[in-house]
């Protein structure tokens, strides 16, 4: 039957089609299949989407960066050195001389000032990163200054822990853009204010990194090419191409037939299949993304800490990892991804029906209760987790109803605190524990609060932990700071409105011809400078 069908489907095709010879991908070009549909702007001061970080991480340089292979180490990029004033307020960076943008313009302190100012003034999604340091559109002329061509000075509003400030500046949103070029592209926005070249930079690049953006066709393709003006060793590849292939099985077919070099979004089943067949290499790195369930304390049952604790004992962490999730996720029950300063692998919870039963009895619900969970059905693994929970919850009488929808609908409900439970992921904003204080700190639990951290979204506030988090952000002794977060994790785990479950592990399958390819723990850390093909 299959052949009959196929023969018919190709009835016309066979008569006309020449056998399509499969040209191998060109030697100097790396072609990847990946999901690119989140990409909405290439401007580093506007982007907040994962795939954009990977592209711009290879196109721009910032002052500093995290070492992808050792996330505790800071790499000196455009900044050769820096000092912090004794009062902890002023950071002075000495820039590397002889750096150039792709346009050929020199990289100067004035470019850093311009880049940081536009990040502040545009007030796009990543603006909070710099605004959290006390730099605002009103004070940015004074707080961001070029002392000379190669000296950049930044003044923050409080004596923060220097490790925190430097870690924040490693975020790709602090990329240095070509101010001379961008000033020529500036236009008026609808409200009459300057757009800082944002309209142009949305679809172009103006960086000093090893590559520049050649083209971006939304939901289709992104191409970067080697930047001839790059200051360091030149990239070995001439071109890197990301093709948006939404369907994972299509990615596998493309890889198998040699039309792409790397397939980035294969699921566990497909990886198993490829491994059985043989002939490909694999590389995987734990990502800075946690998978967790928010437990909204606005729900009458979840308001009880014993119920929340019981739920943490009703998740089959090990079983799910062995079956549905496999290498895609590794167990992590803390609010920090492994790799971020302050992480400690504390795993107090495992599936324990008896313990959960006892906790529920103490809470006054020996026969359970009905409850719902919002899940993004677009991800099969999330549905698998929800269904597993449905089964384990039933054993203690909790009737779990799964509300499946797309991701954006789940988040809309979550941000409005309209969920009971919600299964979601959270990625860090920068490589510092302060970023994930969203799980801990909530300064205003009212419905119209200005800030809506994850703790707020689950209606939870703990003044004691709020204070501890505030103190750790200022702790100038890096070792003390680290120990403080480790202690906080253990204190928080038993009382929080979350069930932390897994940390993402990103595995790619690649042609053995590709060398030096390494998936960074964070998207911008997937670097192509030294990647080559044999």
């Amino acid at each position: 039957m299959k052949t009959l069908l196929a023969a018919l489907a190709l009835g016309v095709g066979c008569a006309l089609a020449l056998p399509a010879a499969h040209a191998a991908t060109p030697q100097d070009t790396l072609i990847e299949a990946i999901h690119l549909d989140d990409m909405i702007s290439l401007d580093p001061a506007e982007m907040y989407e994962l795939s954009t970080y990977e592209v711009n991480g290879n196109v721009y340089e910032a002052l500093v960066a995290i070492n992808p292979h050792n996330t505790g180490e800071i790499l000196h990029k455009a900044a050769e050195s820096w000092t912090v004033s004794d009062d902890g307020l002023t950071y002075t960076f000495k820039l590397r001389p002889n750096m150039k943008f792709q346009s050929g313009n020199p990289v100067t302190a004035a470019d850093v000032v311009y880049s940081y100012q536009r990040l502040t003034a545009l007030n796009k999604p990543p603006a909070f990163l710099i605004q959290d340091l006390g730099i605002s559109p009103d004070n940015m002329k004074d707080t961001l200054q070029a002392a000379d061509d190669l000296t950049f000075r930044m003044t923050v509003d409080k004596p923060y822990a220097p490790s925190y400030v430097i870690n924040v500046l490693c975020a790709t949103n602090f990329s240095i853009v070509d101010s001379q070029l961008l000033k020529s592209k500036e236009a008026k926005q609808a409200d009459g204010t300057n757009d800082w070249g944002n309209g142009w930079l949305k679809t172009n690049s103006a960086g000093s990194g090893p590559f520049f953006i050649k083209q971006w066709k939304p939901n289709e393709i992104v191409t970067i090419e080697a930047n001839p003006n790059y200051y360091g060793d030149k990239p070995k590849l001439k071109r890197v191409v990301w093709r948006h292939i939404a369907e994972e099985s299509s990615q596998r077919l493309l890889l198998e037939s040699g039309d792409i070099d790397i397939a980035r979004n294969l699921e566990a089943d497909q990886l198993d299949g490829l491994r059985q067949k043989g002939g490909f290499d694999y590389t995987g790195t734990a990502q800075n993304t946690n998978l967790y369930m928010g437990l909204n304390t606005k729900n009458q049952y979840l308001a009880n800490p014993k119920v929340r604790q019981a739920i943490r004992y009703l998740i089959d962490y090990d079983g799910l990892q062995k079956t549905a999730l496999r290498e895609g996720w590794i167990i992590n029950q803390t609010f920090l991804p492994n790799g971020v300063m302050g992480f400690v692998d504390s795993r107090p919870f495992k599936l324990d029906i008896d313990k959960a039963k006892a906790l529920l009895a103490e809470a006054g619900y020996p026969n359970g209760f009905p409850i719902t969970v919002n899940v993004a059905s677009t991800e099969q693994s999330r549905m698998d987790i929800a269904q597993s929970m449905q089964a384990t919850f039933a054993k203690v009488g909790i009737q779990l109803k799964i509300l499946a929808s797309d991701q954006k609908t789940v988040i809309t409900a979550y941000r409005a605190r309209k969920h009971d439970m919600a299964l979601l992921t959270w990625g860090i904003d920068y490589f510092d524990p302060a970023t994930n204080m969203s799980f801990v700190v909530n300064l205003d639990n009212s419905d119209d609060a200005k800030s809506k951290p994850l703790a707020w979204r689950n209606g939870w506030m703990n003044p004691e932990l709020n204070d501890k988090a505030a103190a750790l952000k200022m702790e100038r002794d890096a070792d003390k700071r680290k120990a403080g977060y480790q202690a906080m994790i253990q204190e928080w785990q038993d009382i929080s409105p979350f069930a932390m479950m897994y940390q993402q592990n990103w595995v790619a399958a690649l042609s053995p011809k590709v060398k030096n390819f390494f998936i960074g723990p964070s998207n911008e850390m997937t670097q192509y400078l030294t990647v080559y093909k044999e």
Partner: protein, 337 residues
Amino acid sequence: MRRVLAGGGGLLLSLFATFLGLLFVTFVIGRLMPIDPVLAAVGDRASVSTYNQVRAEMGLDRPLWHQFLIYAWKVLHGDFGMSILTARPVLEDLIRVFPATAELATVGIIIGVVLGIPLGVWSAVYRNSLLDHVMRVLGLVGYSVPIFWLGIMGLLIFYLELQWVGGPGRLDVYLDGEVPTVTGMIMVDSLLADDWEVFDNAFSHIILPASLLGYYSLAYVCRMTRSLMLEQLNQEYLITARVKGTPERRVVWRHAFGNIQVPLITVVALAFANILEGSVLTETVFAWPGIGRYITTALLSADMNAVLGGTIVVGLVYIGMNLLSDILYRIVDPRAR
């Protein structure tokens, strides 16, 4: 002449009303969706001031009716607004994605019609023969097997194993951008540029997804042709024709088939529209950057300008197909003139 003009005016008016209605319904559905469009634009982490700034930029702080009037006014002036997802004008996006789908659907419908109509006629003439049974089974499979699965299987066999056809995508990456864009249909553009390498490559990429779409419309066209023909074959005028000694081929093709041409036009037009709107899954499996995928992605991200723009285009195609079959009707059927 005056009557024709008046008829044309009435037609235009009714088309315009249909169009406005379509616009309004899509707009309201978009606003009723449980997705916050501002959130879709700024993401989960933005500060409150960023959120409010973007909300105002998108005009969402105004009352709903006001938003609709502004939108309708702009659309009538050819301004579909900016897409959140692609950071470009929606019109520019549509000009890019629509030809991709149109090309795919056109090749698909050609396959469906060229094979479907003769097979339908023969199934009717030789009913209950082996051919008729095979066609019935094929039709049934066409209705019951998901195109998604068939697409993957097709790729597995013809792309990976046999290497007869190109893989997902419209072209091999190294040929991307080789021919200048004129119509946006790569096969047409490559012919215009006289670039046969690109044409061959584009053809090898389109033939599998188009055959799949063609197969589904073939099943429909064939079944409809068969039942229309059966109706005719039982009529007395055919017996008369046969008694008069008309050759059987002429009886079938000239007399019977001649009489089903008019309803068949509607069938083909419908099949074409079905391909256009039903190509979403095919576009996903084959990484085809067409309008179906564009609208779906936009919808899931509450990118309402893009959804509305896409819907308008699909609506216009339906209206256009209706118009076209009306015109063909008049040409084929003298009574309708």
